[in-house]
């Protein structure tokens, strides 16, 4: 989209280069002689995010490239997003609908228009999974999740989630970036932009995809959109070498590696100094430094040899179906421990039944995917609690939309897409657990009470991370852009502790 050449540019703080030397504070540091070493010091000054800086005055939108402090005291320093790719069915997981048993097999004739594309809405199908009251709170969760259920009193289920699209790619993009269109910065990018990193040796935003493939829509799901490329997510493999070419080449000593990198940095700085507007050049300089430090830091993350056998077992590493996701959850805890801000884990990859997209047989599908993830997620929560990370970490669970309470046809237990009402849950720092917020209708089609748009969820997450979603902005294309867009959004106050 073209920037309007006649747009009013009245306030100098909206100009792309807000600091006197024509650079943002952070870029300036990189470019003024001091080189890489001095960065850490400055980062440490403002990175914690637990105090509110005077600089973030109430009426000032936080704009462009600046290293930010939070708007208010943050409840959470880290966020773990457990992305159930493909869209889990709410009526089989966290939204019991006993009424469905009454109408089993009957055609749905209500008013709600659901079902993706022009697919028939089909016949009402009760959940074969058993819901029980869990924990002290009695929160109802289906027996797909015995391990997650042990933490029922910490879960806040948002039962009336809704979104704007019933297509996977748009849905994934919307849950990640607030927009069904491609090319917007993702939630993790906004948090990296807002909070910076707590550990310069690791990316602040890590993404781990499913071994069956990435989510539909691809890399834009963790892209930085119009923000500088440095805020995009970094893909992390869970195997022995989380990042390829991590090791220094054979025959090159650590000393030579460092000196060669310094030489490269020196020459690149000389080149970039004449081109301050090209943020991509700075991003590439940063990438090399980060890569260097990752060499030790990343290798250490995936080295689980100092984890005790009980922990490995708890995460399900000894069992084939849970081993992959379990390993990722354990790596997630290790990343969080080391200061990574945002970790996103995908369960499900590729298409249809390789994800939670249970068109053909939602029942078997959900048994598979819940079976792979429930135990690791339960373990992650237990582990965060016992290591004192629980109160700093926000957990988000859910997929791009929900599924219909109907089957797609007679004798075929598949469920179609449903974007009008679905469940997600929050847990951890700042979340009031042991409750369900919002409700869908009698059959679980549509949210009818305390509805929560995906952007409302984003507003709530930003709030917990210390930001006012209306004031966390990035100047682009003549506008202060927000993750939550221009429509008025609400923080789900009922979900807050």
């Amino acid at each position: 989209m073209s920037a309007n050449p006649k747009s009013k540019i009245q306030n100098p703080k909206f100009l792309p280069n807000p600091t006197p030397c024509g650079r943002s504070r952070r870029e300036a540091l990189w470019q003024i002689g001091g080189g890489f070493a001095s960065l850490a010091l400055v980062d440490l000054l403002g990175r914690d995010g637990f105090f509110t800086a005077a600089a973030a005055a109430e009426d000032q939108p936080t704009t462009h490239n600046s290293q930010l402090t939070t708007h208010h005291a943050a409840k959470a320093k880290h966020c773990i997003f457990l992305f159930m790719n493909g869209a889990p069915s709410q009526v089989d997981t966290f939204d019991p609908k006993p009424a469905l048993a009454k109408y089993d097999g009957q055609p749905y004739s209500g008013k709600v228009k659901v079902g993706s594309n022009d697919r028939p809405v089909g016949y009402l199908m009760p959940s074969p999974f058993k819901f029980e009251n869990r924990g002290q709170s009695g929160l109802e969760i289906s027996d797909l999740f015995p391990h997650t259920s042990e933490h029922a009193d910490d879960l806040c289920v948002l039962r009336a989630m809704y979104t704007d699209t019933a297509a996977h790619s748009s849905g994934c993009l919307q849950l990640n970036t607030g927009s069904p269109l491609t090319g917007r910065p993702s939630l993790g990018s906004w948090l990296s932009y807002g909070l910076g990193s707590l550990n310069d040796d690791l990316p602040s935003y890590v993404v781990m995809t499913d071994p069956r493939g990435g989510p539909i829509g691809g890399a834009p799901n963790w892209g930085a959109g119009y923000m500088p490329a440095r805020y995009q997510g970094t893909l992390f493999r869970s195997g022995a070498s989380p990042l390829l070419d991590l090791a220094t080449p054979t025959g090159v000593s650590p000393q030579t590696q460092r000196k060669a990198l310094d030489l490269l940095g020196d020459l690149n700085q000389q080149h970039a100094s004449g081109r301050p507007q090209e943020t991509e050049l700075t991003a590439r300089i940063l990438a090399y430094e980060l890569a260097y430090r990752m060499q030790t830091a990343a290798a250490e993350i995936v080295d689980l040899s100092n984890e005790d056998a009980k922990t490995l077992d708890m995460y399900g590493l000894n069992e084939e179906r849970t081993a992959d996701f379990g390993r990722k959850c354990l790596i997630t805890r290790r990343l969080i421990e080391r200061g990574v801000r945002f970790v996103q884990l995908y369960s499900g990859g590729g298409h249809i039944e390789a994800t939670w997209d249970g068109h053909n047989d939602c029942i078997t599908n959900h048994k598979t995917h819940a079976g792979e993830t429930d135990r690791p997620i339960g373990a992650l929560m237990t582990d965060l609690k016992r290591r004192g990370l629980w109160d700093q970490t926000l957990l988000v669970w859910g997929g791009e939309f929900g599924r219909t309470p109907t089957s797609e046809g007679v004798g075929k237990p598949g469920r179609d897409h449903n974007w009008l009402g679905f469940s997600m849950w929050l847990a951890g720092a700042g979340v009031r657990g042991g409750q369900a917020v919002g409700a869908t209708d009698e059959l679980g089609f549509e949210g009818v009470e305390d509805r929560c748009h995906v952007s409302d969820l984003h507003a709530t997450i930003l709030h917990l991370m210390g930001f006012d979603h209306r004031r966390l902005t990035f100047f682009y294309n003549g506008l202060d852009q927000r993750l939550t867009g221009v429509v008025e959004r609400q923080i789900m106050r009922q979900a807050l502790a």
Binding site: R119, A240, D245, Q270, Y292
Partner: protein
């Protein structure tokens, strides 16, 4: 977004061709159900009154449900309009509900039609069920959208005549108070052009020759006398002429085709294997890749390029070349293990992949959306979609069971000769078997004679190479049905071949519309000619999209972004052109004056001042040009900050920075290191893949057998692309999606790329070659080595500061590392930002 539904049923395309809806019908004649009634019900009633919705309990999709009626009673009482709730409510204006979104009141004429139809007996064909997929769109309204309008050549603004591109670009810049940046330095320009057209930097000899051609005169004194102005103009002119001859030379080099073929291969989702579980090789798919390279190098007119790929086998002058080109349809991923029960659905998916790729690549249309429902945003219907499916449906895959295979190339006579020879050979084989079992005394003699005979046969009729392509085998097309909800198990009406209605007001007839020059003299016995009819319609200057789309793609690869930023979506959800007049001017010029010559288009673009301007600018050079007109602009001390006015450089006030794609990065490294293997064409090479990456693959070691040097030093376009196992360097540096058409590579800057380029085996190996070359060509003097390294990699000499940094490193490291120190310098130079972000 405006969407108006009108009462014209798409299946009545023939009637639409006659030019009218139902007004011309004589009043006395009872309304015809299909022609007059169904469109009204489908477009105005059915969305709510369908089996899935049944608003008010009413379903109007069949006569039975309509006569049963809903909560208010029977909607239709045959012969009695006054008792029919349907007629009653629409007459009262209560239906369609005035407040509902997308609802439009019926005209008096439509109401009358329904009333007369009920009166006349409400004729409803036996078993006919109406469906929402039959909804149609207001084509007249839809055709007003910018990209669906015919291409007209706009006037070139201003008086400037040298290059119309500059006229259009400068016009918009001036309106914003901006101007082009000055022309880039000669060597900057040379390197830019070389990377852009060939994909690697210029050689030392090319640099020297270009500089010499640019500046034979003594340096200009720094004053502004008229004489010097003249000299400076002459010098600029000399530079332009020198540059022009380089442009022509680069465009004539085979490297041009190798560079630009890759852009095309992205669009057609080219890969060397089929994907899915087995991910087997597509046998001689590489011949298609070679076809694209050769076509570009030969400057094959783009309209012909389109014809050959869509219908190369149906052309009257079909040749090996055009048969290979038709391999386009076979390039997609292919699942070789499909349950027979799922086969119809898989076939529908396969055709969907083919239709989507074709419509995105050639027409910039995201037609795939219309597979299951009418397009949500563009005026494309399911009928449009399935009409295109009907065109590709006669194509068959070349597989035999789970084996993918080639089809022999050649004329029908040649192929018949080979078949005859093969029969003969088989008979002789049988004879040998006989001899072996019967063991006559002179067995060896007899066998030798037969072998000799076989040799002769093979010599007389040698094997022909094969092409990997789909084929047709009959002039009779299989029936194609509209698939309700996109499901093969749910076939709707029979479809005929047709092009998207919004794009034409005179549908071609298949195949009668084929022009005499393209029509085969005798009707073919093994083809429907449907694709040829379509291809001719696409490859026409009258098609509103074809020229616009390709011109925009070429522009995009020269400037990093197209005039339309969404190069494969020229529809409602796509971007609008930043310079609509320029786009139309180029499209019209390209398809008329330039005779679809891509090289002429490249030449026009790279000769423009817009292309030749520098990347870096000083804001002080922008004088305020239109103070009065733009009083809201931010004005500081009489200058404008173009970064504030157009931070994204959409108006092109400087040449955009952009990172090279992975092919150009890798090829440039090979070129700088003096290690590039220039062998062209042929089967793909397997670049080495790190063990760790192979271990993660399902098939482990069987998945990949790396080729050796010097094969692995060939240009990247010859690298084997395996759909389930991408070469990590390609993957990490933003290679395209291998399963879907990619119109634009992502450009990311992330740490894993730094690991690949700094620690990865490829770059470190090239650094060794690079260092050897420097020692060979510059001797042992470190300053000369550094100087040469910069000229080879960056086409410039190092600055004093750069030379000092490099020398310091080289000298201090040589003490401990010896000759390895120069390798480290080379490794650093290959990793410089400037190496991958050319000026």
């Amino acid at each position: 977004m405006v969407r108006r539904w009108i009462n014209r049923w798409p299946l009545l395309a023939l009637l639409a061709l006659c030019g009218r809806g139902s007004t011309w019908l004589a009043a006395a004649e009872p309304p015809d159900f299909e022609r007059d009634v169904a469109p009204i019900v489908v477009n105005h009633c059915l969305v709510c009154h369908q089996p899935n919705k049944r608003s008010g309990g009413l379903d109007l999709s069949t006569l039975a449900t309509a006569t049963t009626g809903g909560e208010l009673g029977p909607a239709i009482v045959v012969g009695k309009p006054t008792e029919s709730v349907l007629v009653d409510r629409i007459t009262a204006g209560e239906m369609p509900p005035p407040k509902a979104k997308e609802s439009k009141p019926l005209s008096a004429q439509q109401i009358d039609t329904l009333r007369r139809w009920v009166t006349s007996g409400a004729a409803w064909p036996q078993g006919r069920a109406l469906g929402v997929h039959e909804r149609t769109i207001d084509l007249d309204q839809a055709r007003t959208f910018w990209s669906f309008r015919p291409v007209r050549r706009p006037d070139v603004p201003g008086l400037r005549v040298s290059n119309p591109i500059d006229a259009f670009i400068e016009d918009r810049l001036a309106n914003s108070g901006l101007a082009l940046s000055p022309t880039a330095e000669p060597l900057v320009l040379l390197r830019r052009l070389s990377l852009d057209l060939r994909g690697f930097p210029p050689t030392i000899e090319e640099q020297t020759a270009f500089l010499a051609a640019c500046s034979p005169s003594p340096p200009l004194p720094l004053s502004h006398s008229a004489e010097n102005e003249g000299a400076s103009r002459r010098s600029r002119e000399r530079e332009r002429i020198a540059y022009e001859s380089v442009v022509d030379r680069f465009l004539s080099e085979p490297a041009y085709g190798e560079r630009w073929a890759r852009h095309w291969l992205d669009l057609v989702r080219y890969a060397d294997s089929n994907g899915y579980e087995r991910d087997d090789a597509k046998p001689s798919v590489w011949r298609y890749r070679d076809y694209v390279i050769a076509a570009l190098n030969d400057d094959k007119p783009y309209d012909r390029f389109v014809l050959e790929q869509i219908a190369g086998d149906e052309l009257p002058d079909a040749s090996d070349e055009t048969l290979i080109a038709a391999g386009f349809h076979a390039l997609g991923a292919w699942q070789d293990e499909v349950d027979p029960l799922e086969a119809p659905q898989y076939r529908a998916d396969e055709l969907d992949d083919m239709v989507r790729t074709m419509s995105q690549t050639f027409l910039g249309l995201t037609l795939g959306c219309a597979r299951c429902h009418n397009h949500k945003f563009d005026p494309l219907t399911m009928v449009d979609y399935y009409s295109l499916v009907a065109i590709l449906a006669p194509l068959k895959r070349p597989n035999k069971g789970r084996m993918d295979r080639d089809i022999p190339l050649g004329t029908p006579e040649q192929i018949a000769a080979i078949n005859a020879r093969n029969e003969e050979l088989a008979k002789l084989d049988a004879k040998i078997l006989e001899i072996i079992t019967q063991k006559p005394a002179d067995a060896e003699q007899q066998k030798a004679a037969i072998h000799e005979r076989q040799r002769e046969l093979r010599a007389k009729t040698p094997d022909r190479p094969g092409a990997y392509r789909c084929y047709e085998d009959s002039p009779n097309p299989p029936p194609t049905y509209l698939l309700l909800s996109g499901r093969a198990s749910n076939p709707g009406p029979l479809m005929q071949p047709r092009v998207p209605a919004v794009l034409t007001d005179s549908q071609p007839t298949f195949p009668e519309s084929i022009s005499p020059s393209l029509r085969p003299s005798v009707p073919p016995s093994s083809s429907t000619l449907r694709r040829l009819t379509l291809a001719q319609w696409i490859a026409s200057p009258d098609n509103p999209l074809t020229a616009r789309v390709i011109v925009n793609r070429v522009w995009q690869h020269h400037f990093g972004e197209g005039l339309v930023a969404t190069p494969s979506d020229f529809g409602a959800m796509g971007a609008r052109p930043t310079h609509p007049e320029l786009l139309d001017w180029l499209a019209h010029w390209f398809s008329h004056d330039a005779d679809w010559s891509l090289k002429k288009l490249h030449r026009l673009i790279v000769m423009s001042e817009t292309y030749r301007q520098s990347t870096t600018v000083q804001s002080s050079m922008f004088k305020v040009q239109r103070l009065e007109a733009n009083s809201t602009l931010n004005i500081e001390r009489g200058t404008l900050n173009p970064n504030a006015i157009d931070p994204e450089n959409k108006l092109l006030w400087h040449f955009p920075y952009r990172r090279l794609d992975v092919e150009a990065i890798r090829d440039s490294m090979l070129a700088a290191a003096g290690n590039m293997n220039r062998q062209m064409y042929g089967p793909a090479v397997y670049l080495p893949i790190d063990q760790a990456a192979i271990e993660a693959h399902t098939d482990k070691q069987a998945a990949w057998k790396a080729s050796a040097e010097p094969a692995i030093d060939r240009r990247t376009v010859y690298a084997y692309v395996k759909r389930t196992l991408l070469v990590p360097m390609l993957e990490s540096l933003d290679f395209c999606d291998t399963t879907q058409s990619t119109d634009r590579r992502a450009i990311t800057s992330i740490a894993p790329q730094a690991l690949t380029l700094f620690n990865g085996p490829f770059v470190n190996r090239q650094a060794e070659h690079f260092a050897d070359r420097l020692r060979r060509e510059a001797g042992d003097d470190s300053s000369r080595q550094i100087d040469l390294a910069f000229r080879l990699a960056l086409s410039r000499r190092p600055t004093t500061a750069e030379a000092a940094s490099l020398k310091r490193f080289l000298e201090s490291e040589t003490e401990s590392l010896g000759p390895q120190a120069l390798v480290q310098v080379c490794r650093v130079i290959l990793n410089l930002n400037e190496f991958v972000y050319p000026n």
